[in-house]
């Protein structure tokens, strides 16, 4: 049975003027680490709020841990651990007081589920009597995770847990999630960082309230239909313009120090073709190679495949 399932969920704001979630359906299997990947404003938080029963969807059904989000919202609340994107614990209470408070409102104690949070809690335990508002970002995040776990939830909903956290803490956080997954907890996590997608078992790519693809990160990368080239020269901006001007080029965008390029006609020797363009335009220090696409490449490709969607500002 699916731990979380959404069926045709639609949510609009401002009396239907703003479409936040557009007919979204996907399922998270029990014990799965599922990622909801999409840029800011894609509708991730709205989906989380619907699943945590604090927001009503306009249309569609959703269940969490086998319970319907509208009818059985009470049952869901005691079975779900939720960590909002914004730090939402009491800043004027200490670590211990926050934990105790959330333990008691769920009718449990810290000791009862200590095993579950031990790994995480031990790291912040030395600061037990420090107020939550005075903690560093990484520690706040650990505390929030502890509070979300304190009642041994069946499903853990994490809304952008790693946004605004340093690289080391992010890495640590994903390690923690993997350990929690081993304990049988279903985890639904959202993130705007594409590099974190590979750490999930399955991901849903979401853009402008619409799900573009749901699959394992590997499958999404494998389904990239064409060869991807990375190109670089001394004047990278000029190269971008030159390549985009060529009618044979399907897409070309900056990606770190390289340009990622796909060709309309997926022929062999594309690298030489690109090199010729660059040389003819007078570029120096040219480097062209074939690369394996990443999630971000897939995301951008999927995004561009939906020309019917009008982008804001255009």
């Amino acid at each position: 049975m699916a731990a979380v399932s959404l069926e045709n969920i639609t949510k609009t704001y401002d009396n239907g003027k703003v479409l936040a979630v557009d007919n979204v359906s996907f399922e998270v299997k029990e014990g799965e680490l599922f990622g909801l990947i999409g840029p800011d404003g894609a509708g991730k938080t709205s989906i989380f709020r619907i699943l945590t029963t604090v927001l009503l969807a306009d249309k569609g059904q959703a269940t969490v841990a086998g319970f319907e989000v509208v009818k059985d919202y009470r049952s869901i609340r005691s079975r779900v651990g939720y960590m909002p994107g914004k730090f939402s614990l009491y800043q004027d209470l200490t670590i211990k007081e926050n934990l105790e408070f959330f333990a008691t409102v769920f009718g449990t104690t810290i000791e009862e589920n200590y095993e579950l949070i031990k790994d995480i809690y031990d790291q912040i335990k030395p600061f037990n009597d420090r107020r939550a508002g005075k903690l560093s970002g990484g520690m706040k995040q650990k505390l929030a995770l502890c509070c979300a776990l304190i009642h041994k939830p069946e499903v853990l909903l994490l809304d952008e847990p790693t946004t605004g956290v340093d690289v080391v803490s992010r890495k640590e956080f994903w390690e923690m999630l993997k350990r929690l997954k081993k304990q049988g907890i279903t985890i639904l996590v959202s993130t705007p960082y594409m590099d974190e997608a590979n750490l999930c078992e399955r991901i849903a790519l979401i853009q402008k309230g619409k799900i573009m693809s749901v699959d394992t990160p590997g499958n999404i990368i494998n389904s990239f239909p064409t060869t991807l080239y990375a190109a670089k020269s001394a004047d990278i901006y000029q190269l971008l313009n030159d390549l985009r001007a060529n009618p044979e080029i399907e897409s070309c965008y900056a990606f770190g120090e390289f340009l990622h390029v796909t060709l309309k006609d997926n022929q062999n020797g594309g690298a030489d073709f690109l090199k010729n363009i660059a040389v003819s335009k007078g570029h120096s220090e040219i480097l062209i190679k074939t690369i394996t696409p990443g999630i971000e490449d897939s995301f951008i490709r999927l995004m561009n495949e939906r020309p019917e969607e009008v982008r804001p500002g255009n």
Binding site: R77, K86, F102, V105
Partner: protein
């Protein structure tokens, strides 16, 4: 019930942790109760007078010394002409000009009648009218005391009605007895209305309400968890206020203390409901603060704290009756000064009860709707 206990524990912990707010809640009433009644004194004293004496006679001197010795007036200048004296009023140095015409004594003795000019600066209306009437009293007293009239009384006894009056419930007609209970009410209102509104809105603003909403905490538990601590604090502040009244002003309620507490407790519930209502309509603390402040101003100025409700126009009296503060001030004054019992304050209690029901009901209804 167990959950509610933990929520209360958490709320009290948070309140006691914020030292500034805590200090404000207890220092504010004490300081305000001590300072404000002393400053807000409507007894008119120190009316400044400019004198123009064209007569320089025994009688005019007698009149001047009588005015000067009454204690209410301060003679700031003696001028040679009315024009000069009026300059003092224009410069706001004098409130009154008394002009004694030449031949004052002669005409008084010979004709038995004389006119006296009093000019009043009416910018400060209450000071002008009260000062003017004080002066009238002094002059008529002087009039009765001059030799010629004393002699006349023996000749022609006229039918004079002698009025003697007494101030009930406030024998010395001292302003503090009127204003101190009012300020006590005001303080309770500020704490009850402001603190709850701001506290709940803060949870919204910081986002903690988001985390609370996904826990099994029920709405009524959350609301009660917010209201009870402020009810307790409000009652404590009220008690401190009563103690200050006694220690500083020797004001002891004439009526039953239990009755005051009964009504204060109902009143606080009404006000907490008011705070809750504001919080359901505001998204952040600034909004809540402004809305609360708007109503507080109306409450303060229209509740009969400073002015008499009976002298307001009809529409204002209706608004005044629609604010809970009006009724509570009335009741507190009745009990503290008059010693009224339950029978007398029954109607007002019903009003306050109605406010408690309406405000809380509205707030809870609106709170439900938002989620």
């Amino acid at each position: 019930m167990k959950v509610l206990r933990f929520i209360l524990q958490k709320e009290f912990r948070q309140i006691f942790r914020d030292k500034t707010i805590l200090a404000m809640m207890f220092v504010m009433p004490t300081v305000q109760l001590i300072v404000m009644p002393l400053a807000m004194n409507f007894d008119v004293k120190n009316v400044n007078i400019s004198l123009v004496d064209h007569d320089h006679s025994t009688y005019s001197q007698k009149l001047i010394s009588k005015i000067a010795s009454s204690g209410y007036f301060r003679i700031i200048s003696s001028d040679f002409s009315f024009k000069e004296a009026l300059m003092h009023i224009e410069k706001e140095e004098a409130d009154l000009v008394v002009e004694i015409p030449s031949g004052f004594e002669r005409n008084l003795v010979r004709d038995g009648a004389q006119k006296l000019a009093v000019s009043v600066d009416a910018i400060n209306g209450s000071k002008a009218s009260i000062g003017g009437s004080y002066l009238n009293t002094v002059i008529s007293d002087f009039n009765a005391g001059i030799d010629i009239n004393i002699r006349n009384i023996n000749k022609t006894p006229s039918g004079v009605i002698d009025i003697s009056f007494r101030n009930w419930f406030n024998p010395m007609a001292e302003y503090k007895y009127y204003i101190v209970p009012g300020i006590l009410v005001l303080l309770l209102t500020m704490i009850g209305g402001f603190m709850t509104a701001l506290n709940i809105v803060r949870e919204k603003e910081v986002g903690t309400i988001e985390q609370i909403n996904v826990t099994p905490i029920k709405k009524w538990e959350f609301i009660l968890g917010k209201l009870i601590p402020f009810w307790v604090i409000g009652m404590t502040v009220f008690s401190i206020g009563l103690v200050v009244c006694f220690v500083v002003y020797r004001i002891v309620p004439e009526g039953s203390i239990a009755l005051i507490y009964l009504i204060a407790s109902v009143y606080l519930i009404a006000l907490l409901g008011f705070g809750l209502l504001i919080s359901t309509y505001s998204d952040n603390q600034v909004q809540a603060m402004f809305v609360a402040f708007f109503f507080m101003m109306i409450f303060m100025l229209m509740s009969g704290l400073f002015t008499s409700i009976d002298s307001m126009p009809t529409w204002a009296r209706i608004i005044s009756n629609l604010t809970p503060v009006t009724h509570f001030i009335k009741v507190v004054r009745m009990i503290v000064l008059k010693g009224s019992g339950f029978e007398e304050v029954k109607t007002e209690l019903c009003y306050i009860l109605a406010f408690a029901f309406v405000l809380n009901g509205w707030a809870i209804w609106n709170y439900r709707k938002t989620n």
